[in-house]
């Protein structure tokens, strides 16, 4: 347990340092995607998705990892839609998301600390109101759901489609990006 926590801490610190080095701890850089001036966040996110997708697929195909051991978060359609909207509004207002607010706070930025304060208020409120939110939570619960199951396509075909969509998006964004 201690070793696992130690590894998690190391990965977390490395992740934070990388974000800071890439400039993703600064609100001005992050909100650039909403004004069409800087799509760095989108590119970073999709690059991470592609790396994970291709990496996990091929490592599993080569027998080095067992995909059934991966934790797949459950789908709660309506609650996740509402949560996504709340998250998006908060992201636009604050210019930071939870992860980047930690990085900003660790770098000594006050706006990062303020967003982290809001983060804890949100988590605490959600926990306190959990019983009241239970009907919403259970309203559209689909259990664990993945794209191959949803579209009834082979796993590898879904991998190819996601890669194609991501690369196409990269090309389109490069065309529409207007650096400030």
């Amino acid at each position: 347990m201690t070793a696992t926590l130690g590894i998690a801490l190391l990965i977390g610190v490395a992740f934070g340092v990388t974000l800071e080095q890439a400039g993703l701890g600064r609100a001005r850089k992050l909100v650039g995607q909403f004004y069409g001036t800087d799509f760095c966040v989108f590119k970073v996110m999709f690059s991470a998705i592609l790396t994970t997708l291709l990496g996990s697929f091929w490592l599993a195909r080569l027998g080095l990892v067992d995909l059934t051991g991966f934790y797949v978060p459950e789908t709660f359609l309506l609650p996740q839609f509402v949560g996504g909207l709340v998250f998006g509004v908060g992201f636009v207002l604050a210019g930071l998301c939870p992860g980047t607010s930690c990085v900003a706070a660790a770098s000594g930025r006050l706006d990062g600390l303020a967003v982290m304060g809001g983060l804890f208020v949100g988590i605490g409120s959600c926990g306190l109101l959990f019983d009241r939110l239970q009907p919403l939570r259970a309203s559209t619960a689909y259990g664990t759901l993945t794209l191959p199951q949803l579209f009834e396509l082979p796993y590898g075909v879904v991998v190819l489609l996601v890669v194609a969509v991501a690369l196409l998006a990269f090309r389109l964004l490069a065309r529409f990006e207007r650096p400030a």
Binding site: S47, L50, L54, S56, F57, W58, A60, R61, G63, D66, L67, T68, Y71, V72, E74, F76, R137, A138, S139, A141, Y142, G143, T144, L145, T146, P148, Q149, L150, E152, P154, Y155, G156, V157, V159, L160, V162, V163, A164, A166, L167, F170
Partner: protein
């Protein structure tokens, strides 16, 4: 060729190859999709004893979820610690994770088939039913009775159960030898109601 372009080409090659590489799941089948009926969806559920459940609760068993399928009134009258009520007539409102350890609770240990089918179809892997339902919980954990004149070995086993019982506010006692025929013929719901009424009088409701 710059680095982003090279990485893009690498992604295209690996993605295209993935489409023809077959399933990444080797020996294990992929998780079941929503709506895809499991072959063993109607197979009987494994039962868990009330004592085992009590030990799971006390030991904070990871992933443990206790779903109480009794009526709202019955649930409000008495509930097993950490249990959440769920209407058995609308099992589609139950959301689970494939890592949950589910224990279903009814009044008498009988679980509606559609609830079991739903849980298995949405990917629940570990589903147990509480043996004898709430009646079993009350008899085994809350009101365990050691028959008078029991052997030393039985007394030793009972001590462990008594400690567990006291943890949950129960009252273990030594009483007259149990009469199995009387237990069989007694109406189960009356037993449960009487036990719950007794608990509420003690202020544990």
């Amino acid at each position: 060729m710059n680095a982003p372009r090279a990485l893009g080409w690498a992604a295209i090659v690996l993605g295209a190859a993935a489409a023809f590489a077959g399933s990444p799941y080797r020996d294990n089948p992929p998780p079941r999709a929503q709506g895809e009926r499991a072959d063993d969806a109607t197979a009987p559920l494994p039962a868990v004893s009330a004592t085992q459940l009590a030990e799971w609760i006390r030991g904070r068993q990871p992933g443990l979820r206790i779903i109480d399928l009794r009526s709202t009134d019955a649930f409000e009258a008495y509930r097993i610690p950490r249990a959440r009520r769920q209407d058995p007539d609308s099992p589609d409102r139950i959301a689970v994770s494939d890592r949950d350890l589910l224990v279903l609770v009814s009044a008498d240990g009988r679980i509606p088939a559609q609830t079991v089918i739903h849980l298995r179809n949405i990917g629940a892997r570990e589903i147990h039913v509480l043996r004898n339902g709430l009646r079993g919980w009350l008899e085994e954990v809350i009101n365990p009775v050691l028959a008078a004149g029991a052997s030393a070995e039985s007394r030793q086993r009972f001590e462990a159960r008594a400690e567990l019982s006291r943890y949950f506010g129960g009252q273990p006692r030594i009483g007259a030898p149990a009469d199995p025929s009387a237990a069989e013929s007694a109406p189960a719901t009356d037993d449960v109601d009487a036990s719950i009424a007794h608990l509420r009088r003690r202020g544990c409701g």
